[in-house]
Amino acid sequence: MRGYLGGDVGSVSTNLLATDEHGTIITSLYIRTQGQPIAAIQEGLAMLQQELPHDFEVCGAGATGSGRTLAGAIVGADLVKNEITAHAVAASRLVPDVQTVLEIGGQDSKIIILRDGVVTDFAMNTVCAAGTGSFLDHQAQRLNVPIEEFGNYALKAKNPVRIAGRCTVFAESDMVHKQQLGHSLEDIIAGLCEALVRNYLNNVARGKDILPPVVFQGGVAANTGIKTAFEKALKTQVYVPEYYGVMGAWGAALLASEKMAVDNNGPSKFRGFQAAKLDYEASSFDCQGCPNQCEVISISMEGKVIARWGDRCGRWESMLGSIT
């Protein structure tokens, strides 16, 4: 069996998946990065191999997410792409006439506007995390409600309370205040969902022309409370894909297969599933070559440097060829 791999290494989760030759997802997984992207990628790779048929042949691998460069170096990716393009590609593969993609992940959120299958505008949250998964995670812990149950509680609300959602700190104190007033847990949770959506629409989506079909993806799309709050605010149906949590990784796999096709299906750079067992090490140093003092990162595999980045002038990056 032949197919492609896609990986999305984010701040909170690391998602890996495999597709068949036509881009259909065979298996996917969503694990926590826990601040150790290299370990997470290796763990994910080993898990993925167990799920896949023994004769699975990797024709191409793509990496995205904030850890895309690192992931690309470790697994040997044929394509390294930013998460905005990756998410847009996956959404429009699923809903070809999609015009708006809402994506909320662990620590960032984005909106992508498409027209006729082409991205025309996008935005990412800049200064505030009040509209992201980590915020919900934290509040769920405070309220002692499992995050998986959050959405169901919200749906049971009769009269959602209004919570100031501009900033996580204020949202929290406002929420405590509403609790002390005696509002029900359901109403407070629904209020939180609405606050998050309001914050997202006022900040990330400010000035954007949100037209249907709207696709909602990223880890937070698991929360039906947020989906409902979006539908209420946008007055349109919001579509959550089956593989909402791994859309970025899927986009990376789709892009990798496109890239391989452009390159006449040459050999993939994928290091093989054995990469899960190899010894990788990351180190960094401040280059003293010029006043820029770039922080140079180098990644070594089994003691050999395989990748370097961070230097503006490229002197360390280009030295690589002579070392390996």
Partner: protein, 366 residues
Amino acid sequence: MRITFPYMGNSPLVLKQILGELGYDVVVPPVPSKRTLDLGTKYAPEFACIPFKILLGSYLEAISLGADTIISTGGVGPCRAGYYGELHQRILADLGYNVKVIIIEPPLRRPADFLHALKLLFNERKAPLWKLPDIFWRGWLKLKAIDQVEKASHDIRPYELNKGETTVVFRQCMEELDNAHSRVEIEQATQSSLQKLANIAQDRSRKPLKVGLIGEIYVVLEPFANHDVQVKLEEMGVLVDRSIYLAEWTQNNALGNREYDVKKAAEPFLSELVGGHGRNSIGETVLYARRGFDGVIQLAPFACIPEIVAKSILPYVSRKLNIPVMTLFLDEQTGEGGIRTRLEAFVDLLSQRRNKKEGQLACVDI
């Protein structure tokens, strides 16, 4: 008098020459670095913009190298930068540094202040009066030469075959210009620099996307403040036109109040002066759209009111003239990763748009 000045782009080469020839001991501030920004952030008000913080850090670094006088520029508002010289002086005084800040106001708009600053500046000069015109004229020639060579480098980098080569050659060119002082030397250094740049191996068959860079002058001109976006984009194969070069800007603003075409272009969207470069950002976007550019990137210091005003109008300009615009807000919290992701995504967006326009499959450019 050990004199220093604000660090911005390549202008230190010129200021160093002029002040040196006037007979002062010149302390060239170190190229802005993380250390500079850390120093500035530590002593600046939190909500001051990033140019203020970098300059403060830069002055502190220069003071530690022995500077006792700072020359800075004023402004005609309504942007806070006009008061920055004043505020810098007070912060430095509070920190116990006894330094003099000479603020040079635009000569034709604030003639009395300008002359006063000139008097302070010239009081201790060693060069005789008759030499002044020549000193300033050669400074001006040098500034123009630097801009000309820099422009040439930006026209070449998107086509370079070996990534990074243009940057290395450009650095050599700046060293050469730094050592050129007489009119003949400046002219020779310019020609030899242009030749060196032209000799870089290029693939001229590429059809790069064209992006205009607009925004507040300091963050547009100082690569450290904007995470080197221009070079980053050019190394991704994008042709970048920067809206501001110091020589032109000086001609248009310090001497008079010109830029009529930019103001006129902005008029249908913003007819008021909003301070700083706010109106220019609108006008330049309009001009880039007319020139058929693929997109525009606005660089703005975080909390910069003029650029915020411009940003809120830009989506309308963008829709009306059908040109994508992306804004990057910059401050000491801005992460390198965020900038890179946005630049990459914006370039993807532009190339998809172009492919579609040219009737190709709407496939992502890889």
